[in-house]
Structure formats: structure tokens, C-alpha cells
């Protein structure tokens, strides 16, 4: 491994390190996908793995996503732990049938005899100036598919810990990597990686008392920034990083919302039919009498992801979040 830098490390480096450590720890872990071998992936996340573990462990496949995921299913049937890289969010769609009809259902179909301990890594979301099909937020599709787990890290340390947890999971995990955080840095030390903790838990990233921002992945830094900016308006916002969309951590989320009495869900994905509906609905079901205002949503517009020059108008930004917080019926409180 040549690319792992000293601290501070980027999320990309943490992901690479997680793959490397998982492969070193477990010979059944196989990385596969388009350009993952010699090139190390278009985002260089698999950089060095083919050199260190050989092309049989880190394999450049033909260009066919259904074939990649379908072959991974077969490999998992034989006891391997495939880690599939989809090159971009929208390029995972050709493998949708394999994902929904097999990856998600094989364990259930066989009463547990054929688990699917595979990980599908998908760089997702926008904000990187990508042309069409390179910025989709596809998490709603995966959330609506029973049998899958859906993780998405927002910090460098989580990128490492959650990817290790995903690979170690005996269930299939759709691992959504926020592309625009690939180069985010943190003082996490790749030479001293944290213990792998089971994923599936949300975490409070910022304590606050006025309202809770519920968010994940690429929108976490935006929410943190909004929470800082909100201080000027007199709001002390709590920020919860969901981390795992499936399983969903109702406990942490509801504890926060019950405390603050107000919540805004923030994500890049389109609003209509997006993850925010589920999140708002379940929070409301569970915390109704603690709510001073309806749970609001700040999301991408209900439009196909825009071209690079227009994406800033689409993505939830600090102002839009603060506007939503402002609409949480503060007068009604008195």
C-alpha cells in the first residue's frame, strides 16, 4: 500500500485502508468491478489492492453491472465475501434486478442456508460537477428493498469503520459513498484504525436544544455548517448523522427529537418519494406528542439531477436549511 498517507487522511484513503485491512484479515474478501484492478478505480479507492493481493482478489471485470453483481452472488454462494464497486450511482441501475431479486432475497428464499455476505459500494450524490448520470442519490430505491442493509458514512473514521462492518456483515450491504466527501480530510490516523464497531446506529454529531437536523452522508457537513450559522438566529441545533439508513436507529433519532421537539430531515435525494418521507413519517408516528411542528424536509427538488452549472441551485444548502428551521412554528410554542 503506497497511498495511505499520514494523518490527516481523506475519506478516500480511509476507504482504501478498510478494503486493504479487510482483505488482509479475511482471504474470502474479493474486490471486483470496472477498473478496480490496474487503475485502482476511477476514484482510486481500490488503489494498490491488485498489486498487493493479486488480480484474483481485486479483479477488473468486463463492463456489465448485472454480470458483476450476478457473478458476485455466485461467489457469495460459494462462501466468498465479494465487495463490488459500481463506478457511479446511475451505473448501478443495470444490476437492479440482481440486487432486488437475488441479493436482497437469497437468504430469505433459502431460510438462511444461502446468506449473501456481499457489499456493493456505490459512490453517490452530487456536488462534484459531474455530467448527467454521475450524481444520482439512489438511496430510496435501496431502502425500499427488504433484505438489504444501507450504510452511508459521513466522516473519515466512519468510512473506515462502517466499510469494515459492511464487509464483515453476513447480510448484503449497499454501501453508499458520498463522492463529494472523498477528499474531505480528518485527523483520523490510518495507521491506527479504530476498532470495527457494528454499524446500524445513528450518532449525535452536535448537541443542541432547539431542533434536530436529521441527515446523513453528503449533507452532514452542510448541516453542521447550518447549525453553526443558526446560532446567529438564536437557534441551538442538534445534528444527528443517521449513518445506517437500514437498519434504522429509531432509538437515537427519537430520543433527540423528543428532546428538541422539532426536526428537519436534510438530504440531497429528491424530496418526493425520497428517504425523508420515511424518516419524517416514522419520527412523527413515534414522537407525535413531543412535536411542536411537523417534521419538515429539505431535499433536492423533484427533478432529474441537474447539469453541473445548475447543481448549486438543487442541492440543499445552509440557507434552505435555516429557512426550514424558521418554519418550525416557533410562535406556536408560546
Amino acid at each position: 500500500m503506497t497511498t495511505v498517507a499520514a494523518r490527516p487522511a481523506t475519506m478516500a484513503q480511509a476507504l482504501t485502508r478498510a478494503l486493504r485491512d479487510a482483505m488482509a484479515a479475511d482471504p474470502t474478501v474479493h474486490v471486483m468491478g470496472e477498473d478496480v484492478g490496474t487503475l485502482g478505480g476511477v476514484f482510486r479507492i481500490t488503489d494498490g489492492l491488485a498489486a498487493e493481493f493479486g488480480e484474483d482478489r481485486c479483479t477488473d471485470t468486463p463492463l456489465a453491472e448485472a454480470g458483476i453483481l450476478g457473478a458476485a452472488v455466485g461467489m457469495a454462494m460459494y462462501g466468498l465475501r465479494p465487495v463490488v464497486e459500481m463506478q457511479f450511482d446511475a451505473f448501478a441501475y443495470p444490476s437492479f434486478e440482481q440486487l432486488v431479486s437475488h441479493v436482497a432475497k437469497m437468504r430469505n428464499r433459502t431460510r438462511g442456508a444461502m446468506p449473501m455476505p456481499l457489499t456493493v459500494r456505490i459512490p453517490y450524490g452530487g456536488g462534484i460537477g459531474g455530467v448527467e448520470h454521475h450524481s444520482d442519490s439512489s438511496e430510496a430505491y435501496y431502502m425500499a428493498t427488504p433484505g438489504l442493509h444501507v450504510y452511508t458514512p459521513a466522516t473519515v473514521a466512519d468510512a473506515y469503520g462502517m466499510l469494515r462492518a459492511a464487509i464483515a456483515s453476513d447480510d448484503p450491504v449497499v454501501f453508499l459513498e458520498p463522492k463529494r466527501l472523498y477528499w474531505s480530510k480528518d485527523t483520523w490516523d490510518p495507521e491506527d484504525p479504530p476498532a470495527v464497531e457494528p454499524a446500524g446506529r445513528a450518532v449525535v454529531r452536535r448537541r443542541g436544544s432547539s431542533a434536530t437536523l436529521l441527515t446523513y452522508g453528503p449533507s452532514l457537513p452542510v448541516c453542521m455548517e447550518a447549525a453553526e450559522a443558526a446560532r446567529e438566529e438564536g437557534w441551538d441545533l442538534e445534528v444527528v448523522d443517521l449513518r445506517s439508513l437500514v437498519p434504522f436507529d429509531d432509538e437515537t433519532v427519537c430520543a433527540s427529537v423528543r428532546r428538541t421537539g422539532r426536526a428537519v430531515v436534510v438530504h440531497e435525494s429528491t424530496g418526493f418519494g425520497g428517504p425523508g418521507g420515511e424518516i419524517a413519517a416514522r419520527v412523527t408516528e413515534r414522537c407525535f406528542h413531543h412535536l411542536e411542528a411537523p417534521v419538515l424536509r429539505v431535499a433536492g427538488f423533484d427533478v432529474p439531477y441537474p447539469p453541473p452549472m445548475l447543481e448549486r441551485h438543487h442541492l440543499p444548502g445552509v440557507d434552505r436549511i435555516l429557512d426550514a428551521v424558521g418554519r418550525l412554528q416557533w410562535e406556536a410554542e408560546n
Partner: protein
């Protein structure tokens, strides 16, 4: 000066060396389906093998009939019969070693049973009590795959994984003529060839995909010709000639086992019955077409050969028939009971450990069931 003369003095830039990656000639299938029974090649066949196949065909035919009957009695939700295709079904199982893997399509319950899976378990999907009734690892039989052609990349992946591990495993994957049109067919064959995975693809070309005849499915000379586009050999065989299917499949399995990579086999056969018990084949084909194929029945073909060679006496016929009837009687009896159902199994295997939400939902159902039971008890 003519252009021809000019050429002499002119040295055009040579193209970079270009080589076909493999010689296409040996990949092309024969011009007509390979046959053994009733041809000179039959002389090379092992009488014991033919007799074994004969008994299996007779049992297989009876299995199809019994399963169809079970749909009428409401004991199966649906049954896609492989009547007429038994030579492919039983042979697909027969050519495999114990440690090999079979990847059946939804019509291939008979192949699954021929591989040793308990018929009642093999029929679980079609009975409707669970999606798969057997542990795939026990007999190395993947679940019957309903989404067409999706099982093919699984076979490739499994065979590839086994080869990486150094295990002696061949995967044989079944698919229909209609299934060859799916993208997954293409991707699977390509992966298999690039990886030189030990896989054999058997296409049972039974003439139809539900109502759609082959001519609307493909314009290819034969489905076996698709092989050359992946750089693997394509073999065309009479799918009703059990000896021919056996020879071709066994050869392909041997080749795969020895590291020779995948083979695509097209077996030309015919779906004698309707698509399933729910289908009305009269809407899309004539009885006379079916009759032509009934005359080319796999059991009749084999009987003719065996009779001709003096290998089939009445005792053998009777024994085969009795064994088939015994299987059918046992199946009838065991299917003639309501399976024990566990509604809470709905939640048991969605994930390795149920999520908090699934535990809640299971509790809800448990409470409902208890209330129901109490209500019934009252």
C-alpha cells in the same frame, strides 16, 4: 501509370499486429443437431448408461404427470412441466459429479429431483409454502430461478470462486430458449469465457417462450452459434436423444473440469405440454405440430434403440414402470397433506439477525395470531 503499377513503389504504414483472439472455426456448432440414437454413434454407447437413462426418463415422465395432477388437486400452485424434455432434465443431473453444482431454471424441478433432492422439497416453491424447500448446499443445487437467465451469472461466479479456491467443481446452468434473449445470458457467457470458468450452459430450446415461438425470439442460425461471440465452443444436440445429450454434456463438463473453460450447448427439444397447467397452448400452436414431436419422444427413441439392441425386455420395462409408480405414489401421499406453516418465518430470515423493526412486526403478528387462535378457541 496505372494504380496497380504505383502500388509497387508505395509502402503504406503497416497496421499494428492484429490477431483473432481465438480461432473461430472450432467454436462453431455442427450444421445439424448431433444425434446418437439410431445412428452409427449409438454403437459406442454404454448399455448400462442407456438403461440407467431409460429408467430415469420413465420416472421423470411420471414425475411430470404426477406434478401436473397435483395442480388439479390444488396441491401445487402451478407446475411448469418438462414433459418431452426429460432427456435434458435427467441428463443434466447425470453428467455431474457429487461436488459439482446445478443451476436450474424454474422449469427444471425434474433436474433438481434427478440430482437427488427430495421431490417434496423440490416442489416447495410450486406448492407455495416457501420459496425454496431444500438446502442448496446439501445436493449442490441452487434454488430454482424464476427471473429468467439471472441464475447464469450465479453459476459463473460460483464456478469461478471454486476454481480460485482450487476446488474441483463444475457448474451446469440451465436456461430456456427465451432466456437467451435476456441481457444476463449475454453477460454471464461473457464473464465465463473471459474468466475461463468451469461452467456448462445448457439451453433447452423447446421451441417456445410461453407463446412466443423461436422465430420471434432470434434470427440466429442456431442458439449454439451465440457461443462464438464469446469465444467458447457451441454445441448443437438433439435434446430428445438422451445418449447424444449425455455425450455432449459429459464432454463439456469434462472440458470445463480440465480447465478448458465454458461451453454453450443447445439442445433442440420441444415442450409437449402447455407452458404450465394454467396455460392454453391451443391459442398459439397446432396439435399437429405437437404430434410431430410426440413421435420424436425421448423415451420412445431410447426404447427403440434398447429394443433394437436387445437390451429392453418386458421385465426391465415393468421394473422401470413400477419404480416410477412407486415414486409417484409416495409423492402423492406426501403431498396430500397440508405443510406445517410458521407464519413467523416471515421475519426469521430476512437478515442474519432481525432488526428492531422486524422484531416489532413479528410481535404484532404473534399477537394477531394469538388473538385469532383465541377467537377460534371461543
Amino acid at each position: 501509370m496505372t494504380v496497380m503499377e504505383q502500388r509497387g513503389a508505395y509502402r503504406p504504414t503497416p497496421p499494428p499486429a492484429w490477431q483473432p483472439r481465438t480461432d473461430p472455426a472450432p467454436l462453431l456448432p455442427d450444421a445439424r443437431p448431433y444425434r446418437v440414437l439410431g445412428t452409427e454413434a449409438a454403437g459406442r454407447t454404454d448399455p448400462d448408461l442407456l438403461l440407467r437413462l431409460y429408467r430415469q426418463l420413465v420416472t421423470g415422465r411420471r414425475f411430470n404427470a404426477q406434478a401436473t395432477a397435483l395442480t388439479k388437486q390444488g396441491r401445487l400452485a402451478v407446475y411448469p412441466s418438462s414433459t418431452g424434455q426429460e432427456a435434458c432434465e435427467v441428463t443434466a443431473a447425470a453428467v455431474l459429479e457429487e461436488h459439482d453444482w446445478l443451476f436450474p431454471s424454474y422449469r427444471d424441478t425434474l433436474a433438481v429431483v434427478s440430482r437427488g433432492v427430495d421431490p417434496v422439497r423440490a416442489l416447495t416453491l410450486l406448492r407455495g409454502d416457501w420459496h425454496t424447500g431444500y438446502d442448496p448446499h446439501e445436493h449442490r443445487v441452487a434454488p430454482l430461478s424464476t427471473p429468467l437467465a439471472t441464475q447464469l451469472p450465479h453459476a459463473v461466479g460460483l464456478a469461478h470462486a471454486a476454481r480460485l479456491k482450487g476446488d474441483d467443481v463444475v457448474a451446469l446452468a440451465l436456461v430456456g430458449d427465451g432466456g437467451t434473449s435476456e441481457g444476463d445470458f449475454h453477460e454471464a457467457l461473457n464473464f465465463a469465457a473471459v474468466w475461463q470458468a468451469p461452467v456448462v450452459f445448457l439451453v433447452q430450446n423447446n421451441g417456445f417462450a410461453i407463446s412466443v415461438p423461436l422465430a420471434k425470439q432470434t434470427a440466429a442460425p442456431s442458439l449454439a452459434h451465440k457461443a462464438v461471440g464469446y469465444g467458447m465452443p457451441g454445441r448443437l444436440v438433439d435434446g430428445n436423444d438422451a445418449a447424444a445429450v449425455h455425450e455432449v454434456l459429459a464432454g463439456a463438463v469434462r472440458r470445463a473440469r480440465e480447465g478448458g473453460g465454458p461451453t454453450l450447448v443447445e439442445a433442440v427439444t420441444y415442450r409437449v405440454e402447455a407452458h404450465t397447467n394454467a396455460d392454453d397452448a391451443g391459442r398459439y400452436r397446432s396439435e399437429s405440430e405437437v404430434e410431430t414431436w410426440r413421435a420424436h419422444d425421448p423415451i420412445v427413441l431410447l426404447e427403440e434403440e434398447l429394443t433394437h439392441r436387445g437390451l429392453l425386455d418386458e421385465a426391465t420395462r415393468t421394473a422401470a414402470r413400477d419404480a416410477a409408480e412407486a415414486m409417484a405414489a409416495d409423492l402423492r401421499a406426501r403431498m396430500n397433506a397440508d405443510p406445517a406453516l410458521h407464519p413467523l418465518d416471515l421475519f426469521a430470515h430476512v437478515h442474519a439477525r432481525p432488526t428492531a423493526q422486524l422484531r416489532e412486526q413479528a410481535e404484532q403478528l404473534r399477537a394477531e395470531l394469538e388473538a385469532e387462535a383465541e377467537g377460534a378457541g371461543r
